[in-house]
């Protein structure tokens, strides 16, 4: 499965009401859990709807597991579990009946669907309320039952649209833990759309950032973290120049600025303690030390500031690429 991306986009354009909502998206999403980020109106939901076959590509193609999202939509939907953003259920049904119904629609025989419905409801933590009508559920329970119905038929791809929408901190944490467990189990790929960077950061290994219907960034968060070096800012008093020469001797990239300010990049084998030792030897005072690592927020903000990718490369300030692979 790794040789072929879970989702393949090739110059995908979707126009709705005469307006281009998705504009020339190209890329291969291969991660176990793919985060879909972007501001409101960026085209996240339209992309999900296109992947589900609700919208037809105006030009270009979108493929899920190698199948065309519109032509082969019935086949694709059989292997997808979808948790929509908004309330979507049949309120008049009991929880277990609703999940069983959805599992049967996904292709499970009636008896297996019932068994899986019970299991799915226990799995998400709704076991005790599974015989209650869905319209009596709280907002958090409604989110969970949407997840249960998406899981019940054992999909290959789980699409979660704003899964933590409207949840209190405890319910949110529970939802994040569930997603992490599902990801860890390994048989399900996840596509998670959210405007909460923290949710994506905690659950995904790859992120697709959309802006105005275009890809602003597409990067592997794990690789980004692994390849990311530690940047450090120091404010020193004393013999700054000889200090900088000494720490350069440790293998650090160093840049000195007026006022005793030093910016450096630490190699993996150098610790902050080594800097303190050199400073102590040279009678240099370190008044301030600020360690900074690239977070998903940095990636997102860069994507938002510097616009869409050009030929698959997102150019960032200072010439530092964001490890983007189209």
């Amino acid at each position: 499965m790794n040789s072929m991306g879970t989702i393949e986009l090739d110059a995908l354009e979707v126009r709705l009401g005469g307006r281009a909502i998705l504009n020339g998206l190209s890329g291969s999403l291969r991660g176990q859990a793919i985060g879909l980020l972007g501001p409101n109106g960026a085209g996240k939901s339209t992309l999900i709807n296109t992947l589900l076959g609700f919208h037809r590509a105006t030009s270009g193609t979108a493929r899920v597991f190698g199948l065309d999202t519109y032509r082969d939509r019935a086949q694709i939907r059989g292997g997808i579990g979808y948790m929509p953003e908004n309330d979507s259920f049949i309120g008049n049904m009991s929880g277990v009946r609703f999940v069983r119904y959805m599992a049967e629609l996904a292709g499970l025989p009636s008896a297996e669907a019932l068994e899986r419905a019970h299991e799915a409801l226990f799995y998400v933590g709704l076991g005790e309320v599974r015989y209650r009508k869905v319209n009596t559920y709280s907002l958090g329970m409604k989110q969970l039952i949407k997840l249960a119905q998406a899981l019940a038929h054992g999909p290959r791809l789980l699409i979660l649209d704003e899964p933590t929408n409207g949840l209190d901190p405890i319910a949110r944490q529970r939802m994040i833990q569930l997603i992490q467990q599902i990801r860890k189990e390994g048989s399900v790929r996840l596509l998670i759309s959210s405007h909460l960077l923290r949710d994506i950061d905690e659950t995904c290994d790859e992120v697709l950032i959309l802006k105005s219907g275009r890809i602003a960034a597409l990067c592997n968060i794990e690789e980004e973290r692994r390849s990311n070096r530690s940047f450090m800012e120091l404010e020193t008093v004393g013999a700054t120049e000889s200090f900088s020469v000494s720490i350069r001797g440790l293998g650090c990239e160093v840049a000195c600025f007026p006022g005793g300010r030093i910016k450096l990049v630490l190699p993996e084998h150098v610790e902050a303690r080594d800097l303190y030792l050199i400073a102590s030897e040279q009678k240099v005072q370190i008044r301030r030390m600020h360690v900074r690592r690239d977070s998903l927020e940095d990636i997102f903000l860069r994507a938002m500031d510097y616009g869409p990718m050009d030929n698959g490369v997102m150019v960032t300030e200072g010439g530092r690429p964001a490890h983007v692979h189209p």
């Binding site: 009401g17 799995y123 054992g154 399900v188």
Partner: protein, 291 residues
């Protein structure tokens, strides 16, 4: 997944064929329709006229019973095409009442709770969704239209002292075909209007209004302009005209009110197309925002 272990496990079992999902929808819709006690009451009411007709057939074919009733003439208790047309007409109106009650239960609940994005994210098309709902309506309405009509026909064939069924087979075929046309028409009408109205009770009223108001307007047009074409707005009358022809009773039709078969079929087709367009607009997983 496991209830006791509380961990996720993938499903590796058998999967049903895609075409059977329509019947899953139909089955759950049927259960939803019959979950109301009023549906049961309405259904029982729908069975009263066929029981009356059954008794009439019994009397017509039982000399002793007719003697007890004062030896009424054969014309009073004639079991012929006109008799079955009356039964079909009564049952069709009752089916109309049943459909106007059931159809909103099938559609509005899904729309009010915004269930379509989830339902249609499964391997079922919008056409399949509507077909599934139609299956539920067809099953329910069949029990009060062509099924009792054909059972009465069979009983008449059995009870008649002379070979009757073979000679009147057209009546059976006509009742079956006429019922199918009517069921199709009111099912689409009920689903289409229900998909546009949020409240079930209002939807029921609107379904009746959609039948009766155009019929009234048509009657006024016909009277004022002294033309029969206004009657084309009267769907029950149009259907009745079709049934007369299907049962071979067209000789009894008033010439002034006789509608051409082509016009009847065109009106029915046009009405069905309109209902399909209405459904197509509303049965969507997502609204398309224009502008």
């Amino acid at each position: 997944m496991s209830i006791h272990k509380h961990d996720y496990r993938a499903y590796t079992g058998r999967v049903t064929p895609v075409w059977t999902r329509i019947f899953v929808l139909g089955r759950y819709s049927l259960a939803e329709a019959w979950s109301s006690k009023f549906t049961t009451v309405l259904f029982v009411v729908c069975l009263i006229p066929p029981i009356g007709a059954l008794f009439t057939i019994y009397l017509a074919n039982n000399p002793a019973a007719r003697l007890l009733m004062g030896n009424v003439g054969p014309r009073v208790l004639a079991i012929d095409g006109a008799f079955f047309l009356n039964v079909l007409t009564i049952q069709s109106w009752l089916a109309m009442a049943l459909a106007s009650w059931i159809a909103p239960r099938l559609i509005t609940l899904d729309l009010v709770d915004n269930a379509l994005p989830i339902l249609l994210s499964h391997p079922i098309s919008r056409f399949g969704y509507v077909l599934g709902k139609c299956v539920a309506l067809f099953a329910t309405l069949s029990i009060v239209t062509w099924v009792p009509c054909l059972l009465l026909f069979a009983y008449q064939g059995y009870a008649s002292p002379v070979p009757w069924a073979a000679a009147n087979l057209r009546i059976a075929v006509g009742m079956f075909a006429g019922s199918l046309v009517w069921i199709g028409l009111i099912s689409l009408l009920g689903l289409a209007l229900s998909s546009w109205v949020k409240w079930r009770v209002v939807a029921t009223g609107i379904i009746f209004a959609a039948i009766l108001v155009p019929a009234g307007v048509g009657a006024i047009v016909s009277e004022v302009l002294r033309t029969k074409w206004g009657l084309l707005l009267n769907l029950p009358l149009v259907a009745f005209s079709l049934w007369q022809r299907l049962l071979g009773l067209h000789d009894h039709v008033d010439e002034l009110k006789k509608l051409p078969v082509g016009a009847i079929l065109a009106v029915l087709a046009l009405a069905c197309c309109l209902f399909v367009v209405m459904l197509n607009k509303r049965i969507r997983a997502r609204e398309v925002v224009r502008g």
